[in-house]
């Protein structure tokens, strides 16, 4: 009997009555609820609502003073025939490829060079990461001094006998965009390097040992071990690069303001100058919508592909 009764005593407690179970979700601690709802409210007020306002403004003509005048898709139709918009879009793609591509390549290169724990490697890592810490506007001011007609770069060229290459780097439409990319790259490479360093640290050394045992050379180890293992980091780097490319503004604005005559114009600088200098806030908002759609579209399509591959 004792044997028979014992399991009854140790059997799991009966399920709670139905009514109590139904009220379960309501027992979410108020603090947790607050942690969810307060940020949601803040986000709604400071992000979602202004974004919706931006969408509405994109459908209006507005000078910032009078009441906005609803024009439907008029701003987007105008954009289709706007040469400056086309220049800015092409420059933005160029920026994405050059700034994005080079920062990924150089960042990965720097990470591979500096991944080994050797003496003094910390100094080099810190030196490469240092520009990330500086404000981009301060960075731009320093580079402005470098690019000045009497600046460091031209003096350097002169001192090594390359006078013919002396140039007004930021005032020439052929060089302005490329001259602006350099400081942006200078800053971005350290950041990408840190992301890749973290990725490299996460690779199991046993994989390299196994590859070595199999007779793989350095290139084959990089091609068949390192790169596949960095796939997760690549997704992060790519997202960061696309977002940073599309929102690149401060360095260009500080150095050239999109000039000379729109030759270094990006969608972001064109949006700013249209909205806040020419006071065409409706058209500026329409440009902002285009930037948002581009950023969202590129990142979403990449992520969807990445998830499909993962499946």
């Amino acid at each position: 009997m004792a044997v028979l009764t014992a399991p009854e005593r140790t059997s799991p407690a009966p399920p709670p009555p139905r009514g109590r179970r139904a009220r379960g979700p309501r027992r979410t601690p108020p603090l947790v609820l607050a942690f969810l709802l307060v940020p949601l409210l803040a986000e709604a007020v400071w992000v979602f609502w202004p974004a919706l306002q931006g969408l509405y403004l994109a459908l209006t003509n507005w000078d910032g003073v009078s009441a906005p005048e609803f024009v439907g898709l008029g701003n987007f139709r105008e954009m289709a025939h706007d040469e400056v918009f086309r220049t800015a879009a092409v420059d933005t793609v160029l920026w994405l490829v050059l700034f994005g591509g080079l920062s990924a390549l150089l960042g990965l290169g720097a990470a591979l060079l500096l991944q080994q724990e050797r003496r003094g490697v910390g100094f080099y890592r810190a030196a490469l990461f240092l520009p990330v810490v500086f404000s981009l506007v301060a960075t731009a001011l320093v580079w402005q001094a470098i690019y000045q007609p009497d600046g460091v770069l031209n003096q350097l060229l002169e001192s090594v006998g390359l006078d013919s290459l002396r140039h007004a780097w930021l005032a020439d439409q052929d060089t302005a965009l490329y001259a602006v990319i350099v400081p942006a790259l200078w800053r971005q490479v350290g950041y990408v390097m840190v992301l890749y360093l973290a990725g490299l640290k996460g690779i199991d050394p046993a994989l390299y040992e196994a590859a070595k045992v199999d007779g793989a050379g350095p290139w084959q180890r990089f091609r068949y071990v390192t790169l596949p293992q960095l796939r997760g980091v690549n997704a992060v780097v790519l997202s960061v690069i696309i977002i940073d490319s599309l929102r690149s503004f401060d360095v260009v604005w500080s150095l050239t303001r999109g000039g000379p005559y729109h030759s270094s114009e990006l969608l972001s600088t064109y949006m700013y100058s249209t909205a806040f200098q020419s006071l065409r806030l409706g058209y500026g908002s329409a440009l902002a919508v285009v930037i948002f759609v581009l950023a969202f579209g590129v990142i979403a399509s990449y992520l969807v592909r990445a998830f499909r591959e993962a499946d």
Binding site: R26, P30, L33, A34, L37, V38, L41, A44, V45, W49, P50, Q53, Y56, L57, N61, W62, D63, G64, V65, S66, A67, P68, E78, E83, Q144, Q148, P149, A168, L170, A171, Q173, R257, G259, P260, Y261, H262, S273, F276, Q277, S278, L279, R280, G282, Y283
Partner: protein, 429 residues
């Protein structure tokens, strides 16, 4: 029971958020009416005079106003570029600054048409302002007939040079356009860039002075004002004539003219790397005091003697927000700013190259300023400056057109077509 507290808090937070949202939406788009600041306290004075000497002079002025006992002004200095882009927001906000530094003429009139400026007719009834010149009176009157601006100082534009450098190079002030071209040739032969510009960096607008002056010398000030008000086209034959003449002097421009800001171009002028520069007296803020006595200027050369002589003499001063809650205090401050005493305090504290608007106020008395006053008095017409006679919104399109012309003078046809198209978009907005 315990769940009721967070609910109530959440409800309150929700109401707060909804209220904030409504408030924000008001800030973003509406030009809703609001009573704004309360009647008490100091008058808020928003200033764009951020150059060190000018800022210090404004502080002296605020202190002097407080000392005379009728009220107080709380000075808030904002960097000039930020001020310019934020001005529409200041004026349309529910709680605007009471008094703001800015420009009279078409710029002020544009805001007055939107009922954003306080009617200052009562202030203009003061004994001081009654004595101001008819030209200033007209400049500060909006299209509605109301006074909307109190002018305090003005300055002039001219071809500035360094006397000792001209003496060293053995050249003198030109009297005509041909003399001017001769002078450029002589300077070029001496290895000096004859004409400095300073339309790079953040001061691309400086190039507009060349357009303004050539246009008022060739087509006259009335045509210039009408063009800038959208009554003529930028691709008209008259405008083409301006650029034809500009092409004659373009080879004498400093090749770095569109690569450096006017402050750096001023340094090149002082160092003798460039010979002369079309600029306003504000550039003196960057000139060391000991070099100031060595600075001189001449009138932009006359091109067509039949065209009445016009000069650029931008006027500065103050307007007030229509939404101020301190109307009487604002009037008191503006009456004070219009006095000879206040204008002298400002001139004494700043670089001293500005001229006071009050007929009794003393200028700094230097030979340069005396010559500047005579220069303006001899003009049959006065213009302000490109953005002041047109609008701030048109300035970026103008900067693009003019710097492109300087780099690619042969493309003038397409440049003017694009300029006109951009201008139409801005006027339509």
């Amino acid at each position: 029971m315990t769940n009721q507290h967070p609910s109530r808090r959440l409800l309150l937070a929700g109401l707060g958020a909804a209220g904030t949202t409504a408030l924000l939406s008001g800030c973003v788009t509406a030009s809703s009416s609001g009573k704004g600041s309360s009647g008490g306290g100091a008058v808020t004075l928003q200033s764009n005079l951020s150059a060190p000497q000018a800022k210090a002079a404004m502080e002296d002025l605020a202190a002097a106003y407080a000392k005379q006992g009728s009220g107080r002004a709380s000075l808030n200095t904002v960097a000039a570029e930020t001020f310019r882009t934020q001005l529409p927001t200041y004026l349309t906000s529910a709680n605007p600054p009471d008094v703001l530094t800015w420009y009279p003429g078409s710029v002020a009139d544009a805001y007055a048409k939107k009922n954003l400026l306080l009617d200052l007719s009562d202030v203009w009834a003061s004994p001081d302002l009654k004595r101001y010149s008819t030209a200033l009176n007209k400049l500060c009157t909006a299209a509605s007939g109301k006074k909307v601006f109190v002018p305090t100082t003005y300055y002039w534009w001219g071809m500035f040079y360094r006397k000792s450098n001209f003496a060293k190079w053995g050249v003198s002030e030109p009297k005509s356009w041909d003399d001017f071209l001769d002078l450029c040739d002589k300077l070029k032969a001496k290895g000096v860039a004859p004409i400095g510009l300073g339309a790079g960096g953040n001061t691309t607008w400086v190039a507009s002075a060349w357009f303004d002056y050539l246009n008022i010398r060739i087509n006259g000030a009335p045509y210039h004002r009408e063009l800038l008000a959208g009554k003529h086209r930028f691709d008209d034959p008259e405008v083409h004539k301006v650029f034809d003449r500009w092409q004659e002097v373009l080879p004498y421009f400093d090749p770095n003219g569109t690569a450096v800001a006017f402050q750096d171009a001023s340094t090149a002028l002082l160092n003798g790397r460039s010979g002369m520069m079309l600029i306003g007296t504000f550039f003196a803020d960057a000139v060391p005091k000991n070099a100031l006595d060595d600075i001189d200027f001449f009138r932009f050369p006359v091109i067509d003697p039949k065209v009445p002589l016009a000069e650029e003499a931008p006027t500065d001063g103050y307007f007030a927000s229509a939404r101020t809650g301190r109307r009487d205090k604002v009037f008191d401050l503006l009456r004070y700013l219009a006095t000879a005493e206040a204008q002298e305090i400002y001139i004494k504290g700043s670089s001293g190259t500005a001229l006071p608007c009050h007929p009794d106020a003393k200028d700094s008395g230097t030979p340069l300023v005396k010559k500047g006053r005579k220069h303006i008095e001899e003009a049959a017409e006065i213009t302000q400056f490109f953005n002041r006679d047109s609008s701030d919104a048109l300035q970026p399109a103008t900067d693009t057109a003019l710097t492109k012309f300087i780099a690619k003078p042969k493309s003038v046809g397409s440049i003017l077509t694009t300029w006109q198209r951009d201008a139409e978009q801005i006027w339509r907005a």
